[in-house]
């Protein structure tokens, strides 16, 4: 469904050029959930944005649904791949109602049948009719993220790109959104490419996981291998330890050392 072949992204030029992603290659099969983990600045979000077409990739090829896509994406490509951003407070237009937010993509892609699509998308993400004419400030963080997911779903995409979709949310709301994503993937056979710094969240949604650092894809592993601590790269091990020592029940002395 999504395939990256030695994709590099460079910002700036000459001496000050910053290579944010370096020859990143991976492949996400249809219906698969693939995760990228790493710290800030590791290039994980850059890769996601390059796949979404939000930043032009300098080198390499991105193939979506069997077709290599140019930097300027044709409309059909944009329709099959949609993105959900981290911060539901920043990614929704503050002066547009949920209804307006959801109608825009339908109008852009000239799909028609607006009424039915909006009602269906809202029901899909667990929002009621009463939310349809509200502005973002009248919604909670979790509800906003549901609207953002509805906006992505309304074009009936085949793949979702998720950039830290739950890191701005409370634990209880995070569980609701993760359950929603799991259900959507099952019901629609959605392909998912998710980025997060939280290993537990990534391992909950994704089967295969790529570890990134300094713009490079260091290691490909699986959620199961992560859980058992079977990772080979020293950095992946370090990342795993940093996540694990904060497990409930771990003695306090462990993290002081």
């Amino acid at each position: 469904m999504i395939e990256l072949d030695r994709v590099s992204v460079t910002f700036g030029s000459g001496q000050t050029a910053l290579r944010a992603a370096h020859e990143v290659s991976f492949r996400v099969a249809p219906g698969e959930a693939f995760g990228l983990v790493g710290e800030s600045g590791s290039g994980k979000s850059t890769v996601l944005r390059a796949v979404a077409g939000l930043i032009p990739h300098a080198e390499g090829t991105i193939t979506i649904d069997g077709r290599a896509v140019p930097n300027r994406r044709p409309r059909e490509t944009r329709k099959i791949i949609q993105m959900v951003f981290q911060d539901p407070y920043g990614s929704l237009h503050p002066n547009q109602t949920v209804d307006q937010t959801l109608s825009a993509p339908i109008a852009i892609h000239r799909l028609g049948d607006t009424e039915r699509r909006i009602v269906a998308a809202l029901a899909e993400v667990g929002l009621g009719r009463e939310h349809r004419y509200r502005y973002p400030h009248q919604l909670s963080g979790g509800q906003r993220q549901r609207v953002a997911i509805a906006r992505a779903l309304i074009l009936e995409p085949r793949a979702l790109l998720l950039d830290e979709p739950t890191s701005a949310l409370d634990v209880s709301v995070q569980a609701e959104i993760l359950n929603l994503l799991t259900r959507l993937r099952r019901d629609h056979g959605l392909t998912m490419l998710m980025v997060s710094h939280d290993l537990a969240v990534i391992a909950h949604i994704c089967d295969r996981i790529g570890v990134m650092r300094g713009g490079r894809l260091l290691e490909m592993t699986t959620a199961a291998a992560m859980a058992e601590g079977r990772v080979s790269d020293p950095y992946s091990q370090q990342l795993l330890r940093a996540n694990q020592t904060l497990d409930p029940g771990a003695p306090a002395e462990d993290i002081v050392a």
């Binding site: 799991t182 537990a200 992560m226 370090q238 409930p248």
Partner: protein, 289 residues
């Protein structure tokens, strides 16, 4: 807990007047703090930060802070006016906030900000304050204090910024440090370093630490005791290493809703909020009566 309590709070309430009567952002909160690490966990809006701010005298009007007892050592915090609070803040209670990018002055070098705190509380000369600041930077494990002293906030990384904040907060030798989500803006590996430094400082100086966080895992592994807040009240208080055996349905619900490495569940149990949890509770939280 060891020794007499540094801070004692009994029946703390923070009240904001609203259109439909008073809103109690914090109510029935009682606890005491010794030379220990106390965690306060809860979700957004649970009142955990407001409780921390109330102790610092940082609740703006028209909000009101009421308490039967709120005592720092021998000082009665309920009777202080703004001037007295200003002398106390930084000197006896200090606070580290979430994001150093926003809590540091962007147009003053970080070193000078630390020195300024020293000058304010001790009336020292710039020269003496500078030496103290450099020592403090070294104490928070900054390798080249001279260089960092001259940097501005935008030139330091998040982890370094938070160390600078800790140095600034501890330079006047406070008895209590309140850390409000001190590592939420940092990467996992940097989080550990900052926590380790904070822990070292608090231990070596015999201070009390209140760590306010939404992160259950972090609090349970770092603190000695944990208070769980919901809708302005402490619903549960327990030893941090016993948090996984918590009994209140809210705490249990939160713990169950966390995704876990190595325990993949198709569906995470979602928290069902029981209206009964909102009812006024008798004050708990380990306050000796």
């Amino acid at each position: 807990m060891t020794g007499p309590p540094l801070l004692e709070v009994r029946n703390l309430r923070v009240v904001y007047p609203g259109d439909d009567g008073d809103v109690h952002a914090v109510r029935n909160v009682s606890f005491s703090l010794g030379r220990e690490r106390l965690g306060i966990v809860g979700e957004s809006g649970s009142g955990k930060s407001t409780a921390g701010r109330a102790i610092m005298g940082l609740i703006p009007r028209p909000g009101r802070v009421e308490a039967d007892v709120m005592r720092l050592g021998e000082t009665d915090l309920t009777r202080l006016d703004e001037r007295e609070f200003r002398r106390l803040r930084g000197k006896r209670i200090a606070m580290v906030l979430q994001d150093p990018k926003f809590s540091l002055d962007p147009v003053m070098t970080v070193g000078k900000q630390i020195a300024e705190t020293h000058r304010y509380h001790f009336g020292s000369s710039w020269k003496a304050a500078r030496i103290a600041a450099l020592e403090m930077l070294e104490a928070v494990h900054i390798r080249d204090p001279e260089r960092v002293y001259a940097l501005y906030a935008h030139q330091v990384s998040g982890g370094m910024g938070q160390r600078v904040m800790i140095a600034m907060m501890l330079i006047a030798g406070p008895e209590i440090l309140i850390a409000d989500e001190p590592t939420s803006a940092l990467d996992v590996s940097v989080q550990q370093q900052v926590l380790a430094i904070m822990d070292e400082m608090v231990r070596s100086r015999g201070m009390g630490l209140i760590l306010i966080s939404h992160n259950l895992r972090l609090v349970s592994s770092f603190c000695d005791r944990v208070l769980v807040m919901y809708a302005g009240q402490i619903v549960e208080s327990c030893r941090a290493d016993r948090l996984h055996a918590a009994t209140h349905p809210y705490t249990r619900g939160l713990l169950a809703a966390l995704p876990e490495l190595g325990n993949r569940r198709t569906e995470l149990p979602q928290l069902r909020r029981d209206p009964e949890w909102l009812a006024d509770l008798p004050a708990i939280g380990g306050a000796a009566s």
